[in-house]
Structure formats: C-alpha cells, structure tokens
Amino acid sequence: MSRQSRAAALFTHPLLWTALLIAVLPFVAGANPFAGQGGFVDIATTMIIFGLFASGFNLLFGHVGELSFGHAMFFTLGAYVTALYTKGFNVQVLGLTLQHGAAGNMVIALVLSLIFALLWAWLLARIIVPRSSGIYFSMITLAFAQVIFFITYRWNELTGGEDGMQSIARPQIFGIEWMNSSAHFYWFAAAVVFVTLCVLYWIINSPFGSVLHAIRENKQRARFLGYDVDKFRVNAFVLSAAFPAVAGWLWTYFQQAINPDAGSIEYSGNVVMMSLLGGSQTFLGPILGAALYHELQNGVSQATKYWEAWIGVVFVVFVLIGPRGIMGLIDDVRHYGIANAVRRLFSRRARVQTDLVEELPPLDEPVASEVSR
C-alpha cells in the first residue's frame, strides 16, 4: 500500500471518526449557539451509551440482516443486575432466601451483567435462531423481551416494580468519588464505550465478521460453501447481546436509578431507529444515529409533550426514502455528487438495490419452477 493511500485509509478509519465524535459531543450535544448556550454533558452521556447499545444491536441488524425487536432486554438485564449488585437485595423464592448486601466493585458488576445477559441470549438463541428468521424472528424476539420487561415490572420485592430502584451509588476509584461529577462520568463512559466499540470493530472485520456478511447477503450460498449458518447466527446473537449489557451497566451508574422502561418495546424500537437513522450498514451509523436521535428528542421535547409523534414521523420518512441513513447519504454524495444522491433518494430502484437482505426465492422455489416448466 502506498503512503498516500495508507494516509487516506487512516483518515477515513471509522474508529478515528468515532473517537472524534465522542470527543466533540459534550460540547455540542443539545447546544443552542443562537442563545449562546453550550453543550450538555448529560445529553452527551446518554448519546454515547445508546450509541454502544445501538451498535451492538446493529451487529445483528446491519451485519447479519436479522431484525431483533427485543434488544432492550439485554440492556435492561445489564442495568438491573448492576443495580441489584450495587444496592443488594433480600427476597424469598420458592421458600429459599436469596440475599446479597450492597457492594461497590464495578468490575464485578460488569462481569455479572455480562454473564446474565449472555446466558439469557444464549438460551434464547438456541430456541429462536434455528426456528425462525425474517419477520417471524422479529416478532419472537419482541415477545421474549416482554418476559424480562414484566419480570422487572412485577417482581416488586426484587426490582421495586414500576418505580424501580433509586439512589444507586456510582463506583469509586481507589476510594475517591471521582465519578460524581457529570463531566468526569462522561469521560469514564467515553473510555468504556470507545474500548468496547474497538472490540466490536475487530469482530466485524475479522473472518468471523465476513461470514456474517455472507449470511446477510445469501444464507443459501453460505451453507453450500460449508458454513454452519445457524451456528454463526447463534454466535452473532449472543455477541450482539454483550454490547447492550455493557451499555446497561453504564446506564445504571449514569442515572443512579433504574426502572422497567429500560426494557420496554420503546427502547427496543428506539435503537432500531438509531441504526436506521445513522445507517445500519456502516460502523459509525448507529453511533451517529444515537447522537442524532437524542439531539432530535431534546429539541422536539422542549417544543411539545407529544414529541414521540415526531420521532414516529422521522421513522416513517427514513423507512420510506432513506433506509441507508445519513451515512448512506454521505456515501452517495461521495460517489454520485449531491444532485444525483438526492435523485437516488427518490428512486425506488436504488432503494430496492440497497435493501438489507437479498430477495432470493425461498429454498423450495427452484423446484417449483422446475415443476411448472
């Protein structure tokens, strides 16, 4: 590779842009330059945590082509496990007493969050993945997410039910309450998010990741090359649950409180929207999408209490005319120039070409055509 192209590769490297975005966000998130108002650190923190959540979801959506409509279950699992570990609990289950005192080690909290989320993901994947794909898969993930939601919602004794849990302490570092400042917490979260995203980037660009792309493009072909497609789909599902769990862990510390909303359909839907908004087939897309989503939410919610309707409108518009999201648009502008890129937005053919999954006939189809000819 020549020096010039190496420099270009560095300049367009998604991780570089991720780092830049994370560095800039606290100064621009929710900012209003006209009123001389700077960024809000707390909005920026929300953005990067959801950026991580959405990126993990997108490992499945953008890279395997499977739409999970229940990824908030892993987010809420990570969040609740952290909250319970931190605050302690004492409950009776079938005559057994389960109890645990308050504790503050954030690494143990993280490990526990991951263990629970991954175990649940693995169990679900074993049930769901070999049995379903396409919209059937979306419906089933959505329904299973409700199991976790209603456990957090109804098990008052353990989770505090509808009100959830409050006053959860942020972790201390060497006994110092460094993280209690919003700005400090942001940089802590930023470091965690960036490192975790590097892991995700490595997964996507490994030979494993390219098999996922192959499965997204053409499951049948992948099978006939000798790939155990379902095994890869199960592994991708479990891996993609890890990132929301880490995000949930951060979320509990950030909010210092947790309630069942974290596992609701709305949260699952919102990360779909973030991926779609930013561009689901790119690495940077979901992170950018999470930032844009919260910027939008912040702006609109100040204007109307029915702001969710406007989120819905953006959803509809993006599905109808721009399923490749902002990053897709940037790509098109680079390839075709502004005028043609805009024209492509309204071209149905271009949209069909860029859809997530190939439209191959189902497995039995070749036979049917043979019969009819």
Partner: protein
C-alpha cells in the same frame, strides 16, 4: 469400480408430484458425468437431493462408502461436495475478492480461530488470488459481484465452487444464458479444472455435453432412462425417441 455417489431408491415427491422416482444409481469416481433430460425430468431435484438442499422423501445416498442421507447441506459441503446453482447464486453486494475469500476461508471453519486476523488463517490472500486468476476474474477483484456481467457472475460462481478444492463439483447448467464466446471460455475452464475431480453436470447445450462428457445419464419423468458414453447415448433408440429426437 469405486463410486463417488451411490443412491438407492432415491425418491422426492412434492404434494402429489414425484420429481425423482426411486432412482438407484452408482456414479463412478472421476471424469465429467453429465445428466441430461427434458425439462421436468428431475435433474435439478436430483442435484438438490445429492447436495442436501432437499431431504429425500424416501431412499438413501452414499458418498464414497459413507451414507450421507441425513447430513445437512453445510456438512456435505465440508465433505467436499461443492455445487453451483441454475440461478446465479453469489454474494451480490460483496466484492469479487470477498466472495472468493469467503469460499477459501470456509475450509477453516471449525478448525481455526475465527477472530484471528486474516493473515493468521494460512495464506488466504494467496489462495484467493490464485482462484481469481483461474477463473479469469483477477482484474475485477475489487468490483461488487452484482455489477459483473452475467457470464462473469457465472464464472465467479464456479470460482466459489472450486475455491475449497473439492473432489466433487455439481454444476447446474453453468452455461445457461451465456454468449458463444463466454460459453467457449467456460467450457475451457471446466475442462481445465476437471482432472483429479469428479464433475457432475446438468446441461442443455447438447454439443458441449457430447464433447466433454465421460458418461451421460438420461433422466425422464424422474427416472433413469439410460447411462452410457456419448456414443452409446447417441445410438440409444429409447433416448432418441424420448429426447434427442425432439431437439434434432
């Protein structure tokens, strides 16, 4: 003689229609073994049964002394049964290079650690480039597969099939829709890769079939009508009545 495939009363029915009807066949190892027959004779269904795309309704299949009736498609692919499809079947939105690399890399599935950097998985890149040169697509390696011409896409698919160095190739109408020039190149390609392998071919271009086949098996209404060398098939009256007659 050693066989590569053996079937016993292999049958596949579709809601009342029997596409392959109790076919018992031994396909010897090596050479180009072509299956011909009128449309609807069950050739593609037979391929689908051998490669594991469809489970048989009845009957059993052996591959080199090993029964594979219950094996799934990917397991058969790992045994070295590679196939192409009637309708071009490639990874459309990946580059030509990525397409072939995925096929080369498949050999490592289950053995090597898949999270290692590519260079640790043997010399993937070298092997990929070699396959690309074999099928004459080295120059087009950076192009997206969906943007290739039809003929190049068909050749890419053959590239995917040979990338893992399989002992058996099942090629389902590899020449369909090709221009004469493309046909010529592809026939050359098939003859070049044939030595040391068994090639099962379903093809309609009768001139090509006669020119390159070691043996020909004729299917009719889901059953084997005849098997023999091209000369024998040409001379077979039943075949002429059923099939060649309508073409000639």
């Amino acid at each position: 003689m050693a066989y590569i495939f053996k079937t016993e009363k292999l049958t596949r029915r579709f809601s009342g229609f029997t596409a392959v009807n109790a076919v018992s066949l031994e396909i010897p190892e090596g050479g180009v073994r072509t299956i011909i027959g009128p449309n609807g004779a069950g050739k593609t269904t037979f391929f689908n049964l051998l490669s594991g795309l469809l489970p048989p309704s009845e009957g059993r299949i052996w591959f080199r002394e090993r029964e594979i009736t219950a094996l799934l498609a990917y397991q058969r692919a790992r045994l070295g049964i590679a196939r192409s499809f009637q309708i071009t079947n490639i990874f459309g939105r990946l580059t030509v290079y990525e397409n072939v690399r995925l096929a080369v890399q498949a050999v490592h599935d289950g053995r090597a650690n898949f999270f290692l950097p590519e260079r640790r998985l043997g010399n993937l890149a070298d092997k990929t480039d070699r396959v690309l040169r074999d099928v004459g697509l080295y120059e087009a390696r950076e192009a997206r597969a969906e943007n290739l011409s039809h003929g190049d896409q068909r050749r890419l698919e053959i590239g995917l099939v040979i990338a893992s160095d399989p002992p058996v190739l099942l090629l389902d109408e590899p020449l369909a829709g090709m221009s004469p020039a493309e046909t010529h190149e592809t026939v050359d390609l098939i003859q070049r890769i044939a030595p040391g392998r068994t090639i099962l071919l379903v093809e309609h271009d009768i001139d090509v079939v006669m020119a390159i086949s070691t043996t020909i098996t004729v299917f009719q209404t889901g059953q084997v009508l005849a098997t023999g060398t091209p000369q024998e098939i040409r001379a077979n009256e039943a075949v002429q009545r059923a099939y060649l007659g309508e073409l000639a």
